[in-house]
């Protein structure tokens, strides 16, 4: 079963689910309680949201797979699918994501949208995050970030 969690309210989540016709349920951690429990709080954006991350939790409650991602650097989803197939054969399978993440370079349109959001939606406090972004890309290209 798939569950996707964010700080969005049930209303926002319902709208997203409808818009994208999502075949799984969304969880609404509006109080940032779960994100705090999992130490995934990104305090620099939108007053605090989750860093992207994916866990496979087995029926006994043990984490079988984990990928910690960044806004612009995401796990290759093929890795997760391969893991799930292996898990089907061997339920004791464990995997910590180590494969190279896909680097997302924003298009000019995305950058323009970020700028608009910052000024029109009052996300100006996010400047720290966006200012750090080019640095992040360069560091990643130089292989200086430590992905676990």
């Amino acid at each position: 079963m798939v569950f996707a969690l964010s700080v969005d309210t049930p209303e926002q989540s319902q709208a997203l689910s409808r818009e994208m016709a999502l075949p799984f349920q969304l969880l609404c951690d509006t109080g940032k309680k779960v994100i705090g429990q999992y130490h995934l709080l990104n305090p620099n954006e939108h007053g605090g949201i989750a860093y992207p991350a994916i866990f496979l939790v087995k029926p006994a409650g043990v984490i079988g797979y984990r990928s910690l991602d960044r806004t612009a650097q995401r796990v290759n989803l093929g890795e997760i699918l391969d893991y799930l197939k292996e898990l089907d054969q061997n339920p004791d399978q464990l995997l910590k994501s180590t494969s190279p993440k896909k680097l997302i370079i924003p298009t000019a349109r995305t950058l323009a949208q970020i700028g608009r959001n910052m000024f029109l939606r009052g996300n100006r406090a996010d400047w720290k995050h966006y200012l750090g972004y080019p640095v992040f890309i360069v560091r990643t290209l130089l292989g200086k970030t430590h992905q676990k």
């Binding site: 996707a4 969690l5 700080v7 049930p10 969880l27 999992y38 939108h46 989750a50 866990f55 939790v57």
Partner: protein
């Protein structure tokens, strides 16, 4: 922050949270039904 994030082979912290439809989701209860759960943390609406 990363060294505190629950790791592979550790127990996933249990939690209760509201679903989009306003129901309560309890991780341990859903797991107890024998399901593997893929839990995705995403950034959300902006």
């Amino acid at each position: 922050m990363k060294h505190n994030v629950p790791d592979v082979n550790e127990i996933a912290p249990d939690f209760t949270v509201s679903t989009e439809s306003g129901n309560l989701f309890l991780l341990s209860k859903t797991l107890a039904a024998g399901n593997n759960i893929l839990l995705v943390f995403y950034r959300g609406h902006w």
